[in-house]
Symmetry: C2
Subunit: 426 residues, 2 copies
C-alpha cells in the first residue's frame, strides 16, 4: 500500500487530503497526479512525516542536506542543524552522513525531523565495504539491497538510488571527455564498482527487486543524478542525457509497480541551458517530479554557491523544476555549520518563492507585504517577510534619527512620504 | 566633443580603443555602436576615469551606490565604501549622498574613484531648496539646470535625470491605482513639483538645454526610472510604460545632439515579466543601454535584497540588460555599511557573470577554474575565483584531517578522487 497505488485505486489517502488543503488545489486533481506519478508524497508510515507534495502545479519545495563527514562528526551538531533548517522553513531534510555511527545518527535525526527525511543508502554500503572488504568497489549486491531495506525500516521517506549509472552510461561518459568527469559521490561509487567488477549496476539490473522493497515501505525513490555536470563546461552533454533516458524508463517501471519516483537533476549549468534541460527531462520522464541541485550558473564563486544555486533554482522553478536542493556558502569548500545551513535554506526558499510568484502562486504574500511597506508599517513587514530576524537587525543597526517612519537610507526624503503628501494628499 | 559625436565622425577616441581592447571586440564595431548610441562610454574629461563601455554585445557591468544620508553622514566612511566597492570589482560608483556638505563629499569621492562616477543632481537641488525656500517643491527651473552643470563641472561622468516624469506620465500614474505609487526618490521630487506647481517638468520641457550642458562636458545621461515599480504587483504597468515611451523619444533627441544616453529600468518585478520588459525597452529606445535596479523578483525578503536583485539581474542580463545596479543586504532597511557594500558588489558581479556565461562571454574563466577543481589545486582555485578571501576562509574553517587533497565535506569519499582511481586510472 503506497500513496500511488492507493491513488490509482481512486482512494484518497490522508496525505493526499492534506496536500490538497495545503496547496489549495482540488483534491481529485492531486489524486490523479499522484496516481500518474506527476506528484509524489514522500511518506514512509514508519516515520509518518507531515504531508508534503512535490510535483506538477504545486509550490516549489526546498530540501536541506545535513550530515556528518569522515572529517567532522558530531551528532549533537547535526541535530542542531536539522532543527535550524526546519526553523528556517525547509520542506525536507536529507541525512548525507558519512562519518561516525551512521545508524545512531540516522535514528536520532529521524526522531528530530517531522518532515520528509531522505538518505543515500549507498554511502553506508560503501563505507561498510571499506571496513569489511577493504574497498568501496568490493560492496556485494546483497549488501546494496539489504542496506536499502535496512534504512527503509528505520523510516526513511525518500532514498537516492543511482540507477542511471550503468555500463552504457559509464561508457558514454568515458567517450565524453568531460572537464570534470563525475562529481556525484554515490554515482562515483557505482561507476567505480562497474569498472572494477566489469559487471552491471545491481540496482539497475535488479531494479524490480528494489521496487519490491520500496513498495513495501512506500519509500519514494529519488533517481540519482550520478552523471550531473560538475562544471558549466560539461552541462547538458551526452553522458547526462544518456543517464536521463535510462532513468525515464525506470520511472515508468516504478509507476507500474506502485512505487513513487522523482528524478534528480543538475548540477553546474549556464543559465541558457536550464530551460531545455528541464523540458527534455519532463518529456522523457512523462512529467516526473524534478529535484534539482542548484543548478549552479557559474563555477567561479565558491563561498557564494547558495546564491549561485539560487539564481539557477529560481529559473529552474519557473521552467518546471519542483524541488530545489539547497546549497550552502560552504559548498565545495567544507562541511557546512548551522549558520551555513540557515543561509542555505533561506536562499533556496527565496528562489522557490520567486519561481512560484512567476507562476502566479502565492502572490498575496507579496501583496500583503507591500501594502505594509506602503503604510511604512514596520512591525507588519517584519511579520510578513521571509526572515524577520535578519530584517529587524538591519533596521535596528541604523534606526533613523529624524522624526520619520521611513528608513535611514532616505529619512525625510522618502518617496513613499512624498506620495502621501502630494499624490494622495492625505 | 563627446564620445558619440566623435564616433559619428568616424573618429576613434582613446576610450573607444580601450573598450575594444578590454572587451576583445573589433574596434570598428565598437565605434559604430557608440555612434548609434547602442554603447555608451561615461567619460567626463574633467574626471577622466578608466574607459568603460556599457551596452550591446559587451560584458554586463555593475554599479555600486554609496553616499551619506541625512541620518548618517561620515565622509571618511563613504570614501572607505568607495574603495571597498572598487576592490570588490564594481565597474562604476554612484554617489547618492543626501546628508552633510554634498559638494565636499562629492569632490572627495571623485578624487578617490578612478572609474565612471555618477550622481543624481536633483537630490542636491531639492535639499538646497528645503534650506533656501522651505520645500523641495519650491526648486526653481534655474536651480535644476545650474545644479546639473555644477556637478558636470566637478567631473561627474554620468547623471540621472528623471525626464520621463512628466504631466502625462504622472496623470497615468494617478489613474493606475498602484499598490505603491512611487519609490524613486528623484522621481518623487519631480512628481511633487509637477503637482504642486501645476507645471511641466523643466528638465523635460527644456530638454534641449539639458542636452547642451551634457554635451559640453560629455556627461552621459541616465534617463531615470521615476515610475519604476516598488512592488511586484505594480510591475510592467501603464505608468511605467508611459514613462518609457517618453524616454524613448528623448533618447533619439540625445543621440541627434551628440549626447550619450542610457535608460534606467525596474524595480520590483516577477521573474516572468523581465524578458518582456527588456524586449519592449530595447525596441522603443532603439537599443539604448539598459541600466537596471535589480530587478527584485520578490518583495518579501528584506535583508536578502542583494540576492533577490541578483536573481533578477542575472535573468535581465541574459535578456539584454547591460548594467546592473547592485543592491545590498541593507536595502529597504537602512543605509548600507562597507560590509554591505562588499556583499552587494559581489552578488551583482556573480549575476553579471552568470548572464555573460549564458551569452557565451568569458567561458574561459569557468573552464580554467574547473580545470583547477578537477586537479584539486586549491591555490589555483582561490586565485581564479570571484572572492578568494571568502573561499579561503571557508576552506580553512574546516580543513580535512585525513591525508587528502579533497575538502572536509567528502574527504576520502571525494568523487573526483574516485574518477582518478577508476575512470582515468592514472
Amino acid at each position: 500500500m503506497t500513496q500511488i497505488s492507493e491513488a490509482k485505486k481512486r482512494k484518497i489517502t490522508e496525505q493526499i487530503k492534506n496536500v490538497a488543503k495545503n496547496e489549495n488545489i482540488d483534491l481529485e486533481k492531486i489524486r490523479r497526479r499522484v496516481a500518474s506519478g506527476k506528484i509524489v508524497i514522500p511518506f514512509n508510515p514508519i516515520h509518518s512525516p507531515k504531508s508534503l507534495g512535490i510535483g506538477k502545479g504545486l509550490r516549489v519545495k526546498v530540501n536541506a542536506n545535513i550530515g556528518t563527514s569522515r572529517e567532522h562528526c558530531d551528532v549533537k551538531e547535526e541535530i542542531e542543524k536539522a532543527k535550524v533548517s526546519m526553523e528556517a522553513g525547509t520542506h525536507a531534510v536529507m541525512d548525507l552522513s558519512t562519518g561516525g555511527d551512521l545508524d545512531k545518527i540516522r535514528t536520532s535525526l529521524i526522531k528530530t525531523v517531522d518532515i520528509p527525511f531522505g538518505t543515500v543508502p549507498i554511502y553506508q554500503t560503501g563505507i561498510e565495504a571499506i571496513e569489511k572488504h577493504g574497498a568501496i568497489v568490493d560492496m556485494t549486491e546483497d549488501e546494496m539491497f539489504n542496506m536499502f531495506e535496512h534504512q527503509a525500516k528505520q523510516g526513511v521517506d525518500f532514498a537516492v538510488v543511482h540507477v542511471g549509472v550503468t555500463k552504457v552510461s559509464v561508457e558514454r561518459l568515458q567517450r565524453q571527455k568531460r572537464l570534470i568527469p563525475m562529481v556525484s559521490r554515490g554515482g562515483s561509487f557505482h561507476m567505480a564498482w562497474i569498472l572494477h567488477n566489469k559487471q552491471e549496476n545491481p540496482l539497475y539490473k535488479n531494479f524490480d527487486y528494489l521496487l519490491e522493497i520500496a513498495s513495501k515501505y512506500d519509500v519514494t525513490l529519488s533517481l540519482g543524478d550520478g552523471m550531473r555536470s560538475g562544471a558549466v563546461y560539461d552541462s547538458n552533454d551526452r553522458a547526462k542525457f544518456q543517464e536521463l533516458l535510462i532513468i525515464g524508463e525506470l520511472v515508468d517501471r516504478a509507476r507500474e509497480k506502485g512505487v513513487q519516483a522523482m528524478v534528480e537533476g543538475p548540477g553546474h549549468m549556464p543559465l541558457n541551458d536550464i530551460q531545455s534541460n528541464i523540458q527534455v527531462m519532463k518529456t522523457v520522464t512523462n512529467e516526473a517530479p524534478y529535484f534539482v541541485l542548484g543548478p549552479l550558473v557559474t563555477d567561479v564563486a565558491p563561498g557564494y554557491d547558495h546564491f549561485v544555486g539560487g539564481i539557477g533554482g529560481a529559473v529552474a522553478g519557473l521552467a518546471g523544476a519542483d524541488f530545489l536542493c539547497y546549497l550552502t556558502p560552504a559548498e565545495h569548500l567544507a562541511l557546512p555549520d548551522k549558520d551555513d545551513v540557515r543561509e542555505g535554506v533561506v536562499a533556496a526558499r527565496i528562489a522557490a518563492h520567486a519561481a512560484d510568484l512567476a507562476r502566479g502562486i502565492d502572490r498575496d504574500m507579496d501583496f500583503n507585504f507591500s501594502k505594509a511597506r506602503e503604510d511604512l508599517n514596520w512591525e507588519e513587514m517584519f511579520d510578513l517577510c521571509i526572515d524577520s530576524k535578519k530584517a529587524r537587525e538591519y533596521r535596528e543597526k541604523r534606526l533613523p534619527l529624524e522624526d520619520t517612519s521611513a528608513c535611514s537610507m532616505c529619512g525625510k526624503l522618502c518617496a513613499i512620504e512624498m506620495v502621501k503628501k502630494y499624490l494622495r494628499k492625505r
